[in-house]
């Protein structure tokens, strides 16, 4: 896991109150939703908000690509690298 991926995994744990997990418990290619980590649609909204706040991402809720970007920690990291604002806090 690179730094950005660790960062995103930490953000997922913190934002979604996954107190029973540590960063290393989430594999970069583990599906986040459904049968994988077990996140649901409310988590998706919450996570989109957190990504927006931390990385300056703008995620359109009707975007057909959103589902693909949110598949795993790795796909989220790629998405942040390509679309995030570098200095966003």
């Amino acid at each position: 896991m690179n730094d950005l991926e660790r960062n995103i995994a930490g953000l997922i744990i913190e934002t979604l109150a996954l107190e029973h997990l540590k960063v290393d418990d989430i594999a970069v290619d583990q599906p986040l939703f459904g049968q994988g980590l077990g996140l649901d649609s409310v988590d998706a909204l919450e996570l989109a908000l957190a990504l927006q706040n931390r990385y300056g991402l703008k995620i359109a809720s009707d975007s057909r690509d959103a589902r693909r970007h949110f598949e795993t920690v790795r796909s989220l990291a790629h998405y942040v690298e390509a679309n995030g604002a570098p200095c966003a806090n």
């Binding site: 979604l16 109150a17 996954l18 107190e19 029973h20 077990g38 409310v42 909204l45 919450e46 908000l49 927006q52 706040n53």
Partner: protein, 244 residues
Amino acid sequence: MIELAIERWRAWAPGIEEPAAWAAWSAAPRPLVDSGEQPSCDFVPPMQRRRLSRLARIVMHTAWPMCSDDEQLPFVYASRHGETTRTFAMLDDIGREAPLSPTQFGLSVHNAIAGQWSILREQRGESVAIAGEADTFEHAIVEAAALLGEGAAAVIVVLAEERPAVAYDGWIDDVPFSYAVALRVSRADGTAAGPRWRLSLRGNTEAAPSAPGPHALQFVRALHDGAILDHPWKTRRWTWQPVP
């Protein structure tokens, strides 16, 4: 007038959980210090438990043993103030012009905890979420009596309050510490075990002062000493008395 059998009860307050602790508190009631303690609710899987607020945990902890796994019972959730912690967090977001958390928003409504109970305890029957004044507890009992009158075998009633944020001091003065009381009630003329109590209401014309402390906890006291309880509130005067 309502007559009920109290088949089971369970209460929670900071540091007072077990029946012996409630018996001791009932014999010598004292204000409790609320340091944010909450029940662990280990019986709820972590992925579901993460969505339980402190108030929700207190409710689940007290209500869980009121029914068995293969039983379906109506549920009355009563709280005068509800999810003040979630509401206050959202007001703070609004004040900072920050977007609202979907989770906070979705779970701040008054019937959210009743919904979580239904999902977690796999209860598919009626549930009611009510908020009243200082006599919310008595109104919850009226609701339970109505459900029993409709034919329910028993009803679970939970009265729960969480100590609100400091910002509410001077506005909310009847939650000295967080607490919950869960009761399993049934018709007094049935075969259920447990003490029987009568609740009656008349107009409060005597300008009697309101009873000190939360009504629901005073009822826990009464369950121990069997004394008649007088609960005046504004124009209403509720009386609880044991049925011999």
